[in-house]
Symmetry: C2
Subunit: 218 residues, 2 copies
């Protein structure tokens, strides 16, 4: 089966379509048009058509989409029926906040285990198991883990990153505020939360400045 390449913006809207379609009374909506979907969600029709085309091709003229088929295509694109298992290293406050975050499953990923070297943290586990680091590599290999999340501090992030690569992980989501080195072919995505807030702050300052200039101009 060929995988379709879906942009991040489209991907972000797929759970919205899916949630709405699942709640429709099935006897009233065996079919649904892109126009109806766009009205129900207050989204632009061009955008809706483009998003749905990326996962399911175009709807049929007059009939639109077969609702049940569209639901299945959306579930498939999101990987909901076959969740990808991820592991997390660093079960401090941020790590545990991510473990508690229920949204990942809606997007096809579950964090199946977390690891830490702190004994106190390990005994604190909630619904996801927190395991000691010496079990990391064996766990990843036994579960064929390809996706890893780094939530340790700056000081140990590179060591954890290297362990992940050695354990067969191919894509790393890094929250530590530092630059990590990965071998060619390993995907690295840095999450810089401070930068997101700084960017918002910058936009706010620019807006304030424009307003000030505007007032001066009057």
């Amino acid at each position: 089966m060929e995988r379709l390449s879906v942009s991040k913006a489209t991907l972000g809207r797929l759970p919205i379509y899916l949630g709405m379609l699942r709640e429709l009374p099935p006897d009233e909506y065996s079919n649904i048009s892109a126009t109806t979907i766009s009205k129900k969600l207050s989204l632009g029709e061009v955008q809706v058509r483009k998003d749905l085309a990326a996962v399911s091709g175009a709807g049929k003229p007059k009939l639109g989409y077969v609702t049940q088929e569209l639901i299945e295509k959306l579930e498939e694109a999101l990987g909901i029926k076959s969740l990808t298992e991820a592991v997390l290293v660093g079960a401090g406050r941020l790590g545990r906040a991510l473990l508690e975050y229920d949204e990942f499953r809606k997007y096809g990923v579950m964090i199946s285990a977390a690891f830490d070297c702190n004994e106190q943290v390990i005994s604190l586990n909630g619904k996801t198991e927190i395991l000691p680091m010496n079990r990391f590599e064996a766990y990843c290999k036994a579960h064929s883990i390809r996706l890893g999340i780094i939530t340790v501090g700056e000081g140990s992030a590179q060591v954890v990153c290297d362990l992940m690569v050695q354990a067969g992980i191919a894509a790393i989501w890094n929250f530590a505020p530092c630059k990590l080195e990965v071998p060619k072919g390993i995907m690295l995505q840095n999450e810089n939360l401070a930068l997101s807030l700084a960017h918002l702050n910058n936009q706010l300052k620019n807006q304030d400045q424009e307003e000030k200039n505007g007032r001066k101009g009057v």
Copy 2:
């Protein structure tokens, strides 16, 4: 003073330039060229020139930048000398993880207070004060707060958002996984952590698929 508009990508690199420049021995580097900066940081020279031009104009031929002046321009662009105060509502695990996150200050923002309606959380405060919600509006007005962070659950996010707008907040960073309604002129930035992970997972699946197809082709 005119504010320069700095892209998010450039903004993300400014602390890297600043950190490097601050560690230079001042007697050796009263001036520094973009070429030297790019070599020291393993960044492309074109990118370095563009980034620095956005905060400080072009360097002088042969001389480059006056190091101390460039440091000051970077600090100014990042707002480090006059930190913007932000407030956070929802001091659960994610909220407290953000309160502990030291990186915000490097980007010109400090979370000066957090609010929650849970008495137990309020008594747990660490270095940032956690206050009861009934003090929210007065605090924001007294401190002229313009920047708010929502880390409550989906169920109370809109209520908190409305309270923020009422208290004079003009830019909101929302972590709750839901669509919020804000009046015109209020900036809203949604942080969808699940989507970042899903996007990485999707890229990984695409890469696996390409490799599979490649092997078939041989």
